[in-house]
Every structure is written in structure tokens, then in C-alpha cells.
């Protein structure tokens, strides 16, 4: 048997079903691969014994004829998801030793369907970042390198560990979360497929909160079909999350391979930024050509408030974060740094527990919510958010989906942008709009830069129309020549 870790999730599930190998065998192969790839720093916690225990239990279920949709498949879990009895830190020192006594709803769904947990994946602290550099466990290194260079690149963020682990075959698929682009930008940087579903598709219960009106969970996977299989398991109504949508979850994999003939695809002029690298523009044109060849109608559209999405996001997300992160006060769980009185204890705890980027965002959030600035900043941003959502509503009267680049560049070197917050924020310029509007967005690998790095394209859909995105992405994935893997150097 060739290396089991190189299989797609779909091929692995087929192999498990035909008893070509057991869950214990494919899980053990992944554990070995993870141990050999510690240089990437993708996993912040490896749980090999738990994984093998879950794999053996899975093999026993299968022997009894009780196989679930993900039976025996070893997955990686972003450290933002609470996992019962397994340390869950959001990659922050303030909950660096937190061991939940409960399981997030999304991971509960994965285990219900038979999946196996390999460990917890690295990420930016509290999911605040676009390069994984704000993690308390240090940055993740992208398995991809520039041609002829050893310079370490970021895998993007915040789900950098998830994306790197999937790209480097350290799991068959991974959970991730996306508040402003944290699934799609790292997927774009690592040649993987990531989808942020419609807001409300996946329960937020048990996921450490960043900005609750924007946070959504979704998968990062090796292929479009794998992403569809994973999302089908992860999604579903959950009474524990009041914003969880009470709607049927379709079999998303059934949309992959469907004809896309006659679909109208919008190309928003506002996404063609001044100074956009020519290879990103060329990639976008290539995507348009593939869809046209497949029988889609290409329509120029306008999303006039696009340029205001990021500044609105950097009011709304920090405002919600400053409120959500108020819970880290050192009293009931997490770090406590004693001071002379209660206020000093709070201040010391939060000063030593939070990293620089998290503090920066809490301060911005506190500022825009403070007396005298609430209307000028926060309320204004919420009105701009409505404008952005209305742009999409108008566009979707004319088109069935929208095609854009995923990010304005390929993966960049670790350290290159860490001194300039606004330059870092611009990574999310193409992805953040869908979070504000609550729409589904999918990134798929569509080509490579001149230096050999993966480049992604993004498809944006109507609310709850992830199916169309999977159909379109399936066609484009085929046209792009299928999955590419980084050359192994670790």
C-alpha cells in the first residue's frame, strides 16, 4: 500500500469501506507523518493515543456494519474548537491550560459520523490574524516554498495550522473558522480548498468566540469533493446556538460534478484593485475562461461599497471582540495574575495573558464603543455593513454566483508584514465582504505564481446556496488540473 496520507478524504473513505485498510492503519500513518513534520508547527497538540483509540472503536463499528459518513477518517481540529478533555487554547496564553469539560457542536457532529481526531491545529491567537504569527505557540510554516528558496513563508491565517496540515498531508481534512477570511485566505496560500458557509449553517456553540455576528466554521480540505463531504457533517441546526439556521443540510457532495451550463457568473469591477499583481489578474481571467467554456454566462457587476468593507470590519469585529473577550478576567478559568486589588488583578491577568494583536483589537473595540464615539464609529459601521449586504442582494438578482481572487497576493515570508497592522489587514480585502453579508464563500486552488506558489480563486454564493459553489468549484478544479502537493522538504 502506498502512503495512505496522500489519499484524498473521498479515496480514504472508499478504501476504508472496501476494507483495503483499517482506520487504525490510516490513523497510524498520519501520526507518523505528523511526528516527521514538527518543523511546520502545524499541530499545537498531538493526540496520538486518543486518535488510535478512536480509530479502533471506528474499526469495531464498521465490523458491526455501523459505518457513519466519515467513518474512520483522521482529521485535524483547529484549536478554537473546544474538545472535551483535550486542551483547547485558541492559541492564547490566557487560556493556555484550558481543558474543556464539553465538546463543540461541530466536532460532536464529526465524531457522530465516525471521524477520528489527530490533534489540535495552530492558529492566530483568538483567530485574530492573517499569517498565523500571532499564535502563542509561534507561527506555522507553509509547506510551500518559493522556487529555489528556503525562506519560510506564512500559510496565511488565522486557520494557518489547518491549511498547512491539509496541504502537507498531515490529516485528511481539517476544521477551521472564518471571521474575515480565516478559512479562505489560508486555503488560497496553501493550494487547498476552504469554504466559509452561510452564516448560521454551522453551530458556533463550543467555538471560542471572536466576533459572533461574523464567525462561521467550515472545512479546509484537499479537494472540492472532500470539502463538500466535511461540510455536510459539520453543518446542521443546533438549539444551543440561537443564530443557527433551522434548515435542511443537503448532501453537498452530490453537487460536485453537476453541470454548470447556463449559470450566470458575476465579475465585480471593484475587485480589480489598482496595483493588483498581474498574475492575480491573469488567474482571475483564467477562471472566467474556464467557466465560460463550461457554458456559464459571464456578467459584469458592480459592488460599489466594496472598498468600505475592511474599514467597517475593523470597527465591527474589534467591537464584538472587546465584548466577547471581557470574559477572560482570571476568575473562573484561565490565567490569573494577582494584583493589589480586584481591578489590578484583572489588568495584570489580561496584560500578561493576551498577545499584542489581541490587545490592539480590544483597545480599538473599546474605543469605538466608548461614550461619544459609539454613533460616529460603531453605528456608522453597522450602516455601511447594510450597504455592503444590499450590494450583494442587488447583484444576486442578475447572477447566480460571483467569481473573485481569494487574496491580493500569494503567500508572503514570515515577518514581512508583521510591523504594519493595516498592510496585514489588507489580506482580507476580497474575503471580508461575505462575512459582513453572511454569504457563503469558497476558495479553490486555481493556479500558481511565477515562483511556484499556489493561488486561489473565490466563489461567492447566495445565502444557503453552497451547492452551486461546489458545482462551479468542481468544474474549475478539473480545469485547473486537480490537486497539487508541495514538494516535501520537512
Amino acid at each position: 500500500m502506498s502512503d495512505l496520507t496522500q489519499l484524498t478524504l473521498k479515496a480514504a473513505l472508499d478504501g476504508l469501506a472496501s476494507k483495503a485498510f483499517s482506520s487504525e492503519e490510516i490513523t497510524a500513518a498520519h501520526i507518523k507523518a505528523i511526528e516527521a513534520a514538527r518543523a511546520l508547527n502545524a499541530y499545537v497538540l498531538e493526540t496520538p493515543e486518543k486518535a488510535l483509540g478512536m480509530a479502533r472503536a471506528s474499526d469495531a463499528r464498521r465490523a458491526k456494519g455501523q459505518a457513519g459518513a466519515l467513518e474512520g477518517a483522521p482529521l485535524g481540529i483547529k484549536d478554537l474548537f473546544c474538545t472535551e478533555g483535550v486542551r483547547s487554547t485558541a492559541c492564547s496564553n490566557i487560556i493556555g491550560n484550558f481543558v474543556p469539560t464539553y465538546e463543540s457542536s461541530v466536532t460532536t457532529n464529526l465524531w457522530r459520523d465516525g471521524a477520528v481526531m489527530l490533534g489540535k491545529l495552530n492558529m492566530d491567537e483568538f483567530a485574530m490574524g492573517s499569517s498565523n504569527e500571532s499564535s502563542a505557540f509561534g507561527p506555522v510554516t507553509n509547506p510551500w516554498r518559493l522556487k529555489g528558496s528556503n525562506r519560510p513563508l506564512t500559510p496565511g491565517g488565522s486557520s494557518g495550522g489547518s491549511a498547512a496540515a491539509v496541504a502537507a498531508d498531515l490529516c485528511l481534512g481539517a476544521t477551521a473558522t472564518d471571521t474575515g477570511g480565516s478559512i479562505r485566505q489560508p486555503a488560497g496560500f496553501t493550494g487547498t480548498v476552504g469554504i466559509k458557509p452561510t452564516y448560521g449553517r454551522c453551530s458556533r456553540w463550543g467555538i471560542v468566540a471572536f466576533a459572533s455576528s461574523l464567525d462561521q466554521a467550515g472545512p479546509i480540505a484537499k479537494t472540492v469533493e472532500d470539502a463538500a463531504i466535511l461540510l455536510t457533517s459539520m453543518a446542521g441546526h443546533d438549539p444551543k446556538d440561537s443564530t443557527s439556521l433551522s434548515v435542511e443540510v443537503p448532501d453537498f457532495a452530490s453537487f460536485v460534478g453537476k453541470s454548470i451550463k447556463g449559470l450566470r457568473i458575476g465579475i465585480p469591477g471593484e475587485y480589480r484593485l489598482d496595483g493588483m499583481p498581474s498574475e492575480i489578474a491573469a488567474l482571475w481571467d483564467q477562471g472566467v475562461a474556464w467557466l465560460r467554456e463550461a457554458g456559464c454566462e459571464i456578467v459584469d457587476i458592480s459592488l460599489p461599497h466594496t472598498k468600505y468593507a475592511l474599514p467597517a470590519y475593523y470597527i465591527i469585529a474589534p467591537a464584538e471582540a472587546s465584548s466577547n473577550l471581557a470574559r477572560y478576567d482570571g476568575m473562573r478559568f484561565g490565567l490569573r495574575e494577582e494584583g493589589g486589588n480586584l481591578t489590578q488583578t484583572y489588568e495584570n491577568t489580561r496584560a500578561s495573558g493576551f498577545g499584542a494583536e489581541v490587545k490592539r483589537r480590544i483597545l480599538i473595540g473599546t474605543y469605538v464603543l466608548s461614550a461619544g464615539y459609539y454613533d460616529a464609529y460603531y453605528l456608522k459601521a453597522l450602516k455601511v455593513r447594510r450597504r455592503i449586504a444590499d450590494d450583494f442582494t442587488a447583484a444576486f438578482e442578475k447572477v447566480d454566483a460571483i467569481l473573485t481572487p481569494t487574496a491580493p497576493s500569494a503567500a508572503f515570508p514570515i515577518g514581512e508584514r508583521s510591523d504594519d497592522p493595516v498592510a496585514m489587514y489588507l489580506n482580507d480585502v476580497f474575503t471580508v465582504t461575505t462575512n459582513l453579508a453572511g454569504l457563503p464563500g469558497l476558495s479553490l486552488p486555481a493556479g500558481q505564481s511565477a515562483d511556484g506558489l499556489p493561488l486561489g480563486l473565490q466563489l461567492i454564493g447566495r445565502p444557503l446556496d453552497e451547492g452551486t459553489l461546489f458545482s462551479l468549484a468542481g468544474v474549475m478544479e478539473k480545469a485547473a488540473g486537480g490537486r497539487r502537493r508541495p514538494e516535501r522538504w520537512w
Binding site: N97, L335, L342, R360, L363, L382, P421, G438
Partner: protein
């Protein structure tokens, strides 16, 4: 609206984050850079626009006001930084 050192000190206090005096100026510079970039929102005409507080159209679901889980102090206290016989131990707040 420029953010000065006094404003950073006040905001850090509101956010309950101890920021040493020698960091305040640097922070003021950083926050000013970010807020200056955010100022472009003023260009957008938002007269008569309803603020968007949620991406979900559905009304908030109601449920019975009953305990669904709980009653196990061991689980509640499992991650407490300090505890004593089924209670959180916190700094003295009343003199």
C-alpha cells in the same frame, strides 16, 4: 479625531489591560494609523440606512426558561484558577 496618550490610558483602563506608561505613545501611534484608515467610512452616505446587527433574518428563537444542564460543580470548577470546597476563590471585593 486623533488618539492621544491620555485617551489610550483611559481606553486601556476601560478594557482592564495594564499598559505600562512607556508603551502608551507607541500604542497611540498604532491606533491613530488604524483609525485614520477607518475614517474613510465617513464618505459613505448612510442617511436613512438601518444598522445591520445580524446576518441572520430569522427571529430569535424562544425556549422554556428551564435548566438544561448543570448541577455538577466539579465540571464548572474544573478550570478554576483558585477554588475551595465547590466555590471559586476570588479577590476580596468588599472592604
Amino acid at each position: 479625531m486623533a488618539i492621544d496618550v491620555a485617551t489610550v490610558r483611559k481606553v486601556a483602563r476601560l478594557a482592564r489591560i495594564a499598559e505600562p506608561e512607556d508603551r502608551l505613545e507607541g500604542l497611540a501611534r498604532e491606533l491613530n494609523g488604524i483609525m485614520a484608515w477607518i475614517e474613510q467610512l465617513a464618505e459613505v452616505d448612510t442617511d436613512g440606512v438601518e444598522p445591520m446587527t445580524s446576518a441572520v433574518e430569522q427571529p430569535l428563537p424562544m425556549r422554556e426558561d428551564v435548566v438544561t444542564e448543570g448541577g455538577d460543580p466539579r465540571l464548572v470548577l474544573a478550570n478554576a484558577p483558585k477554588m475551595k470546597s465547590n466555590f471559586f476563590v476570588v479577590p476580596k471585593v468588599v472592604e
